[in-house]
């Protein structure tokens, strides 16, 4: 199921179908041993993917968090359902003032399929 982008050497792995992920929400996919949270930011027509693990209390839950935006530039973010730590969906930086950093992945959607880019 994987294709490779020769220019950036990114390997695109098919994760799921677009309708697996609720509009303006997230869900979790399993890629190998990894859990990846995929977000369908329908309102912005954008897709994002991050690690599913919230680094705060090591919980596999980010996919169940609410997404939204913050600031004048409407930076997209996700909030962990446990303690509402928020993370940038673009950079993975923790926006609630802690020193956490989560992994983010590029997402490509074609023909109803969602691909995650693995470097």
């Amino acid at each position: 199921m994987a294709t490779t982008d020769t220019l950036t050497n990114t390997q695109w792995v098919m994760a799921c179908f677009t309708d697996d992920i609720p509009d303006n929400g997230g869900a979790c996919v399993k890629l190998g041993d990894e859990q990846i949270a995929i977000f369908n930011f329908k309102r912005r027509d954008e897709w994002f993917a991050t690690q599913n693990l919230c680094p705060h209390k090591q919980q596999m839950v980010l996919s169940r968090g609410m997404i939204g935006s913050t600031g004048d530039d409407c930076d997209p973010k996700v909030a962990c359902p446990f303690h509402k730590k928020t993370f940038s969906l673009l950079t993975g930086e923790c926006l609630s003032g802690d020193d956490y950093q989560i992994k983010t992945y590029p997402v490509k959607v074609t023909e109803g399929k969602v691909y995650i880019g693995i470097a």
Binding site: K30, R44, V61
Partner: protein, 832 residues
């Protein structure tokens, strides 16, 4: 060229204050002070505290080194005996002769001792200096009965001292028909009298003392009416007499009844000599309070530094705590009808008397008297002094805004004009205090005292200073408008109205119409709660705007598993249903625990298992318990009259009826109820958002209680009502809460923040003061009629069930990260 010399005669409070004022204005003078007492200036106003534990040092106005630090030469224990006005010199009793450019007489006053035969006897004292107090203290050790002559302000201060000394029997003797004749009226006096009596002071009014009996030691007092009062000690505190003898000797103009005559610059008949404080006679009046004395000191300091300041007649309003009783008198306290209208409040039970005099047109406050409770003094005085227009019901000034409204001290003070005098001892205005907050970052009363000296005199203005500090900080501080989050400039209530009026059903529409950006984890659940509270649609239809618990209809727990709570209304459950819970728990390896709300919580469910677990529970007749929602949790009950020998009514049946009625309704925060079958209150209903307790005649309905971190008892909304009325009031109460509370605000906090508090709520719910009760009842009926068990809908809908898969690309697999540890034959979540 050497500095001109100012000599100050007298080192009392006012003499000291003059030095302080002068050096704060200029260092152009060489200051020399002569004091008669062995101590440097101390606080005579709080003299009686010397007996209640304060030392002479505590009472000092400053340290001794303060004088040297400020280059002030201080001669103590050395009264000036003679002033040579021609050579401009003074001569002291120790033989010092010094020249002056300016002379300030701050000689104060002495106790007025009436001309009664026997005042020279042993055991008769005056009350004026620390030395007097020490003499009294020594003598009091052997005294059984003490009396104070004088029922004025100073007399009562002395009486406190006598009480503090532990003299078993104490009397106060006053010549006038009432206590404190210069400050309070006869009604106030009788209230004060009964308060003092309860503290052990016997008050004798209308008593003119004829002589003091005893050989060389006092044994009693004989009055004009021939009655005799046996006492073995007498403290005379019947008034003051200005110390003008030095001035008289120097040929200065003095009043016929004493006092050194001064003009509005405090100049005596010799332009180089000033008189300030209690020795000065201004406009035919001696000012026997410290605040006008300080003002006089400042007038002279101003004159010497070429600043323009005059003494004007001074406000003699005063507030004191006399022997623990508040006494205040302000403005024109004695004006009577028809020149004014008088409002009087008297509570003999609590010992409170309040009188205010208002102008005949009802617009302005002229003055008044407060006994027993003088909290309102500062504001009332400001109302007089600043001619603030009175509210339509001026009695509110005495009684507070009734109807349970919380007093709004801060706002009242903030409405004063900038030049309103807050601290009259130190002449500090509201403007100066606010300025210190604004420009010098003063945020505490102590800081304010250092910065402006406000509150350092009598201390009476300290509460007002505090209010001004907080009021100014509030006005400056980041004013937090009550909006939901960065995406909506509305409060929850405003947004609810907009959504209701425009019949909006979806979050995205709400955001498009009234918000900006893409929303967030704050506004999404708020809007979800509003939509639910208005339309009661199935919440899983918009699952991505729900908080995690509402999204998955279960409570997320440590480790990422969920807990399951089926509804057990009123805590009543059949054995068969208990068995099903046991079977389900066993099958899915769940930890079980009884909750505080009389139901059973099943912990450790994998998200994938939730639909299957619920399918089995629903098959057995269970419904969702909404433990995950901001909604009604449980209505706890005691067993009630069906079994309990004390029970008055069937509390279980009523609890079930109520729980069934409101189940599933979404609200700003969770709701808990309780029903107790009698006053023993086994259901702890008063700790709930609503609590119902059986009475002989019906039910008492309590609302807005809370357990949790800030426990608060519920308050009585209605008493002895029947079940139907109880439900009607509950309908209105709950819907009013749902519509008006801020997000995540429990009923207790909602009530605490409500203007008018419980009386307002009662008015709305019972008297329909807003005219909305019909609407509230219809709205909640709409929610009741559209109830659905969310889990039933999910269980029956394969599309909805799919959302409970942990991996969308591997639906059969559970989260491998979920792990448990064993504990007491069950499981627990792994520590994080």
């Amino acid at each position: 060229m050497s500095k001109p010399t100012v000599i100050v005669i007298g080192n009392g409070m006012v003499g000291y204050k003059f030095c302080e004022k002068l050096i704060s204005r200029s260092n152009a003078y060489n200051i020399i002070v002569f004091g008669e007492e062995p101590r440097h200036a101390y606080d005579r106003v709080h003299l009686s505290e010397y007996f209640s534990g304060k030392s002479a040092d505590d009472l000092s106005m400053s340290t001794l080194s303060w004088y040297t630090d400020n280059d002030i030469t201080l001669f103590l224990n050395d009264p000036i005996q003679d002033i040579n006005r021609v050579q401009k010199t003074v001569h002291s009793s120790k033989g010092i002769t010094l020249g002056y450019d300016y002379l300030v007489l701050a000689t104060g006053s002495s106790a007025f001792v009436p001309d009664i035969p026997g005042v020279e006897k042993e055991g008769v004292f005056v009350y004026r200096t620390i030395e007097d107090l020490e003499l009294i203290k020594t003598y009091a050790a052997n005294a059984k009965v003490g009396a104070v002559m004088g029922g004025g302000l100073l007399g009562l201060e002395a009486a406190k001292a006598v009480l503090d000394l532990g003299i078993p029997q104490a009397h106060v003797i006053e010549f006038a028909p009432r206590l404190m004749p210069r400050q309070i009226d006869s009604m106030g006096s009788s209230m004060l009298q009964s308060k003092l009596k309860s503290l052990g002071l016997n008050i004798l009014l209308n008593k003119s003392t004829q002589c003091i009996t005893g050989d060389h030691k006092i044994t009693g007092l004989q009055f004009n009416d021939d009655s005799v009062l046996p006492v073995d000690m007498l403290v005379i505190s019947a008034g003051i007499r200005p110390r003008d003898e030095l001035a008289k000797l120097a040929g200065l103009h003095v009043g016929t009844r004493g006092g050194i005559v001064v003009n509005e610059k405090m100049q005596t008949s010799d332009e180089h000599i000033f008189a300030i404080g209690e020795c000065a006679l201004f406009d035919g009046m001696i000012y026997g309070l410290v605040a006008p004395g300080y003002e006089m000191a400042d007038v002279v300091a101003a004159y010497l530094t070429e600043a323009d300041k005059s003494f004007k007649s001074f406000d003699m309003s005063t507030k004191l705590k006399l022997i623990g009783v508040d006494v205040a008198s302000f403005g024109d306290a004695f004006i009577t009808e028809p020149d004014c209208r008088t409002i009087i409040f008297e509570d003999t039970h609590k010992g409170v008397y309040k009188r205010i005099n208002i102008s005949t047109d009802g617009k302005y406050l002229l003055g008044g008297i407060l006994i027993g409770d003088a909290d309102a003094y500062n504001m009332l005085l400001q109302t007089v002094n600043n001619k603030l227009v009175l509210p339509p019901s001026p009695e509110d000034l005495l009684l507070g805004a009734r109807g349970g409204a919380e007093s709004d001290g801060g706002a009242g003070v903030m409405s004063l004009p900038d030049d309103a005098l807050i601290c009259s001892c130190e002449a500090v205005t509201k403007g100066a205090i606010c300025d210190a907050v604004n420009n010098q970052d003063i945020t505490t009363v102590d800081g304010m005292k250092k910065c402006t000296k406000a509150g350092t005199g009598c201390g009476g203005c300290v509460p007002m200073v505090k209010d001004l500090i907080t009021g100014t900080m509030k006005a400056n501080g980041l004013y937090v408008k009550n909006v939901i989050c960065e995406h909506f400039d509305h409060s929850r209530q405003e947004l609810l109205d907009l959504i209701r009026i425009n019949k909006i059903k979806h979050y995205d529409e709400v955001l498009d119409h009234y918000g900006r950006g893409d929303g967030c984890e704050v506004c999404k659940p708020v809007v979800a709660s509003i939509l639910s509270g208005l339309w009661n649609d199935l919440i899983v239809k918009q699952d991505v705007i729900q908080d995690s618990n509402d999204r998955y209809l279960a409570n997320i727990q440590k480790g990422g598993t969920y807990s399951v709570v089926p509804r057990i209304p009123g805590g009543e459950i059949t054995p068969d249903k208990l068995i099903v819970i046991g079977q389900v728990a066993k099958k899915y390896n769940l930890y079980t625990k009884i909750t505080g709300g009389q139901r059973i919580d099943l912990f450790g469910a994998h998200m994938n298992d939730l639909p299957q677990i619920w399918e089995e529970l629903i098959d057995a007749g269970f419904e969702s318990g909404h433990a995950y929602g901001k909604s009604l949790r449980t209505v706890k009950s005691c067993v009630g009259s069906t079994w309990c020998r004390f029970g008055l009514h069937d509390s279980v049946s009523f609890a079930i009826e109520i729980e069934e009625r409101y189940k599933g309704i979404r609200s700003p925060h969770k709701l808990k109820g309780g029903v107790s079958g009698c006053i023993r209150e086994c259901a702890e209903a008063q700790a709930k958002d609503f609590g119902i307790i059986a009475t002989e005649k019906g039910w008492n309905l309590y609302v807005c209680g809370n357990g949790g971190s800030k426990p608060q008892h519920a308050q009585l909304l209605a008493a002895d009502i029947d079940s139907e009325t109880c439900i009607k009031y509950l309908d209105r109460f709950l819907m009013f809460y749902i519509k008006t509370a801020d997000p995540l605000t429990r009923t207790a906090t909602w009530l605490n923040k409500m203007d008018g508090g419980m009386s307002y709520l009662k008015n709305v719910v019972i008297n329909d003061s807003l005219g909305i009760n019909q609407q509230l009842e219809e709205d909640i009926q709409g929610l009741i009629d559209t109830y659905h068990c969310e889990w039933k809908e999910v269980v029956e809908n394969p599309e909805l069930r799919k959302r409970f898969n942990h991996f969308v690309n591997a639906p059969e697999e559970k989260d491998p990260n979920v792990q448990f540890a064993p504990m007491r034959d069950q499981i627990k979540a792994r520590e994080w």
